[in-house]
Subunit: 131 residues, 2 copies
C-alpha cells in the first residue's frame, strides 16, 4: 500500500503543494517552498526537508550547499489536503539564503515594506564562490 | 504613491500569492490561503484577514459567516516577495471550517495521515443552515 498517503494530497495542476517550514522550538515560520510527490517522499525518507525548486526544476535538499539543513520533527497536512506544514530543527539557525534566521523579514509599516531582521551571516560566506 | 507596496509583490500568473496565518500569541500556524491584490489591500484597510477564494472566485473576508475573524497584528513578506505571513488574533479560537483550532490537524504517522486535533465546535453550529 506504499504511496497511498501521497495519493491523499490534493496536488495542484503542476503536481505541487506549498510546504511551510516552522521552527519546532521557537514556533517561528521560517519559509515557504513547494513540494512534489518525490520531494515529500524524500523528506520522509531522509528526515530532512526536500523541496521542489521551481526555478531550477529539480529536487532541492534544503541546506545541500549551505549546510543549513532542516531536520524534520513533524509533518502535517491541512483540512483540504493541499498544504503541508513541517516542524523542523533548523541547522545553523538560518533558513534564508540572505543569511537571516527566516525569510519573512520584510514588515509592512504604513504603506511600505521595511526590513526588520538582521543578517546573521554574509551570503558570500554561506555560498562561497557562487556570486 | 498608493499601491507601490502592492507592486513589490511577485504575484503569480493568476495574480495570487499564498498567505500564511499564524496565531500571534501561541505561534501556531493556523491556515494557508491565497490573496490577490484586492485581498491584501482590504486586509490592510480592515485590519482583518481578507483572502481570495479560488473555489468561489471572490473575496473572502475570513469569518464573515462564522464570526471567526482574524484580527491582523503584523503583515510580513518573504525574501522572494511571493509569500505573505500574517500574525493574527483568531476570534473564537478556531481557524478551521471543521471546527478545529487550526487546519493542520492531520499528522503523518508511519505512512498514514492521522487526525490528532479535536473538534472544538460542530460545524453545523458554526455554519447553521448551510449543510
Amino acid at each position: 500500500m506504499s504511496g497511498d498517503w501521497l495519493d491523499q494530497l490534493a496536488w495542484d495542476s503542476r503536481g505541487l503543494v506549498p510546504a511551510i517550514a516552522q521552527d519546532e522550538q521557537s514556533g517561528e515560520v521560517l519559509m515557504m517552498a513547494w513540494m512534489n510527490r518525490d520531494a515529500l517522499e524524500q523528506t520522509l525518507a531522509r528526515g530532512e526537508a526536500v523541496y521542489w525548486s521551481r526555478s531550477r526544476q529539480r529536487l532541492w535538499h534544503k541546506g545541500e550547499t549551505s549546510g543549513h539543513v532542516q531536520v524534520v520533527a513533524d509533518i502535517r497536512l491541512d483540512c483540504d489536503g493541499d498544504t503541508i506544514l513541517l516542524k523542523v530543527h533548523q541547522k545553523g539557525g538560518m533558513a534564508c539564503h540572505t543569511g537571516r534566521a527566516h525569510c519573512f523579514y520584510q514588515q509592512l509599516k504604513g504603506d511600505s515594506w521595511q526590513t526588520v531582521e538582521p543578517v546573521l551571516k554574509d551570503p558570500d560566506e554561506i555560498y562561497p564562490g557562487m556570486s
